[in-house]
Symmetry: C2
Subunit: 402 residues, 2 copies
């Protein structure tokens, strides 16, 4: 048997709501092939040498321009840092800014695999609940105070405020302002996982936390403007995984300049140069060719159709007692089951009936989430989305989830 | 001012013996461009999706074949794991197998930037001296015993046994056997940094420590043979940085199957899939095109000429009291200065005179190395190698190193 090339493994006969992957049919393979060829033919020496620790200057400039077109505001160059995607960025941050046994605050529910990265670093996870308006900043203040009384200072807060994974919810502007202010006053580093910010379907989401940080000197969009700017303690994590291709292992972060400097001075980067350096050159070329903006528009339309198809099927087929909210972007719907249902306990029965999902409690650092499941719509056809919901509805109606 | 794309920064007027980088003129940019185009055109969906945690199966198969052609023995697939280069591999190993405050043993002198990675993880470094026959295994046994008496167990030993960075020396077969046996009996994990194994100039070096591990079931070259094999506690770290291109950020490790499994189960890989996945596909394509073996031959000849040119200039120009040994491969010569010289103290004077190097003490976790300097010949033309040595000789004769 050959070893697999890729991570995704689809089981025949099962409609997999579990995988939150971009659809491979939506990867711009031909355009990336062209960008790779140009990058290596014209700038092969740069693309194949040890990369600058901060990431290639040409990608940082392309990112500044793109973020400005998308959001009307862009970090100055010394506040940008190229990563190997959010997972690698979280890993690097844990290495440089935490020690085993430290406590960190995590939104709950939140992206479950980030929790695995934190656990690999021996971190203790303290959950802070969210509701449909995002992280409960009042509960965050309580958690900080409770930790303080025990003589502990959390190293950071991890949150996904926009099109949250798994809930699809987006933090309100009021909550964002409150969180940015609390972070500033409490000296709390906030890791804002913002991978889906650009993948909105109805209207652009509110400004990132980074953009709202109280001491952030904004309006630094002009390419010529590279003066040092004061910055709040927000680290925003972006990625090309959802908007271009996950195999690139490429992302970025925006953060205060001293944070970026510490990342650049890491032993791993001093030794090996910038991570994902080849992919960084390919994507810089792709962006310089003007291909990213139109591609993102195309993705928004494609994923919007899937979200709408899923929601329509849920409305039509799911029995009373189920509830959900329409996400404004991203890849996920967070389904609440009727009282007494436990999504974890009945996963194997669901898979036997030809439908799968991720049980809600996996996204909670502590207790909770048992009555929920995460449904990803990014990978499935409209037909499969409908058929998968039919199967789920059949199980729920037969009370097999009870 | 534009931000740089690459890490290398050459100062005008200074001959830089300090950078141990491959020469950009020797990077196979055109062939890698072709490989990238083919990989993305024909297998774009695979190359751009989340990669298998172990690395793409096609690269693992290509690696098995290549290692067998080079060394006559190849790890079974379940003992191979694709990395983002040695730096990333060391970082991952520190995350998964150590905790801040742990002690690790490091050869001395040894690759200085690996020491920075260990320090980022809060590890305490205990040096073990090497001589011209490699790591002193007798001193290693003493260090283990001394730590044991203090109730401490080192998490690993880090060593560069073949064409050592910085010394160029290669551990003898007898020492290798003794080290492999001691590691086995003491339950000591050995990280064998073997990046230059293939870059020999006169004759192939002895078998890797991995190949000598007492319980290693060797002779597993046949592609069909994938049965689980017992394995010694040696982790061998290989890389494409020196033999293809450092910007690829691609390497591999061979290790016991349970070690590979633990790496594959890391949160970072679960979340992001295999690291350097795009580069892995490009290199697999390059290898399947049959381009690697001839390229490595070409590199051996090119770097051999530079080593010979450097040694010739050293013999001609350096004053009495200097000594060195010819390295059989790799990128470095370890120059011992006359008594009373301190290479660190006089670096700035040397640079003012138009020549630079890395002072020897940077490669030593504890004291030592002050009388040495590392001269890298990989990046310099024959003319610069000679002129650089002339400048060094002038300084030494004027006693400015005193």
């Amino acid at each position: 048997m050959s070893l697999p090339d890729i991570q995704l493994f689809l089981r025949p006969g099962i409609i997999e709501f579990g995988w939150g992957n971009p659809d491979a049919d939506l990867l711009p393979a031909a355009d990336l092939a062209r960008a790779a060829e140009i990058a290596l033919q014209r700038r092969g020496r740069q693309a194949l040498s040890y990369g600058a620790e901060q990431g290639p200057g040409r990608l940082i400039e392309a990112l500044q321009g793109w973020l400005f077109r998308e959001e009307g505001v862009s970090p100055p160059a010394q506040q940008l840092f190229v990563t190997g995607g959010v997972s690698q960025a979280l890993d690097l941050i844990c290495t440089l800014f935490t020690r085993s046994g430290d406590v960190v605050l995590v939104e709950s529910p939140v992206y479950h695999l980030a929790l695995r990265i934190f656990r690999d670093h021996g971190l203790e996870l303290a959950p802070v609940a969210a509701d449909e308006d995002g992280l409960r900043v009042d509960l965050l203040a309580e958690a900080l105070e409770s930790l303080r009384r025990r003589g502990r200072h959390p190293r950071f807060l991890y949150t996904v405020p926009t099109f949250n994974n798994p809930t699809g919810m987006t933090m309100t502007v009021e909550r964002r302002r409150a969180l940015a202010a609390l972070a500033q006053s409490a000296g709390l580093l906030v890791l804002e996982d913002d991978v889906c910010h650009t993948l909105w379907f109805d209207a652009p989401p509110p400004s990132s936390l980074w953009g709202l940080a109280p001491t952030m000197d904004r309006g630094l969009a002009a390419e010529a403007d590279r003066r040092p700017a004061p910055a709040g303690p927000i680290v925003r994590l972006g990625s090309f995984s959802k908007i271009l291709a996950p195999g690139l292992r490429l992302g970025w972060l925006s953060a205060p300049p001293e944070f970026v400097q510490r990342c650049m001075r890491s032993g791993m980067l001093d030794s090996g140069g910038g991570v994902s350096h080849l992919a960084a050159h390919v994507v810089a070329e792709f962006m310089e060719l003007g291909l990213l903006d139109v591609h993102v528009e195309h993705l928004r339309a494609a994923y919007r159709r899937r979200r709408d198809g899923l929601l329509e099927a849920m409305t039509r087929f799911l029995p009373p007692g189920c509830s959900w909210r329409a996400p404004g972007g991203g890849f996920f719907v967070w389904l609440r089951l009727p009282e007494g249902c436990d999504s974890g306990r009945f996963l194997s029965q669901a898979e036997a009936a030809g439908v799968s999902y991720v049980p809600g409690n996996r996204f909670c650092a502590g207790e909770g989430g048992e009555r929920y499941m995460r449904l990803a719509f990014s990978l499935l056809s409209l037909r499969d989305l409908e058929e998968g919901i039919r199967r789920l509805a059949g199980l729920l109606e037969s009370n097999e989830f009870g």
